[in-house]
Amino acid sequence: MQLLYFAWVRERIGLPRETVETEARTVAELVEELKAREERYAAAFADLSALRVALDQELADFNAPLKDVREVAFFPPMTGG
């Protein structure tokens, strides 16, 4: 599974993308796995209310299932326009 990070999430974790092998069934489970890895992940995912997630480039919820998902992106609320 391909993970992508944008804006301050990317800066806090220190990389724009990575490939992970995971058994996580939902986004929330994946987040817990990542947080347990290293302090920088724990810091980036400390407050989920400040984060948004997209599954295969569509906005989704943190309790959304990961079945058949290839690309997961984490980022702060968007500031376009």
Binding site: L4, F6, A7, W8, A54, Q57, E58, L59, A73, F75, P76, P77, M78, T79, G80, G81
Partner: protein, 146 residues
């Protein structure tokens, strides 16, 4: 429908002119342009990051919805990414409709969605340091009216 996500500047006058000229059966064209604004007086530049692929998809989805909802004849969206200085144009939206109310509403709808649902993030490079621009509650609330 024309959607462009690009690093390079665009010629607002030429784009607006070409867009309006192409609308034979539309009586109204509305354009909106967003400009890099130096709020505190210490802004050196604005850096805009985006999510290639998802950005284009999100803009297309909202443009299609605007076309149907407001019976627009045409939509143009240009949004830049990368580094821009104060006064530079960040993006533009143009809508064409038979009558002005739909053209105005279509443009407002697109702007409201672009602010909070298109994957762009702004970072301000100040003389004193850098700061990610925080999303505003008012922008999120604005979606409620649609």
């Amino acid at each position: 429908m024309d959607i462009r996500v690009q690093a390079t500047p665009f010629d607002f006058g030429a784009e607006a002119e070409a867009f309006a000229r192409g609308q034979g059966d539309m009586g109204a064209v509305v354009t909106f342009t967003g400009i890099v604004r130096d709020v505190s007086g210490g802004l050196v530049s604005m850096e805009i990051e985006h999510y290639p692929g998802m950005t284009e998809k999100a803009l297309e989805t909202h443009a299609r919805e605007a076309l149907i909802r407001f019976q627009l004849g045409d939509v143009l969206i240009i949004h830049r990414f990368g580094e821009m200085r104060p006064g530079e144009m960040i993006m533009m939206v143009a809508t064409a409709a038979p009558h002005r109310a739909d053209a105005f509403q279509g443009a407002e709808f697109l702007m409201d969605y672009l602010k909070s649902r298109a994957p762009f993030w702004k970072k301000e490079i100040m003389q004193t340091g850098t700061d990610w621009v925080a999303a505003r509650d008012e922008d999120e609330d604005a979606l409620g009216r649609w």
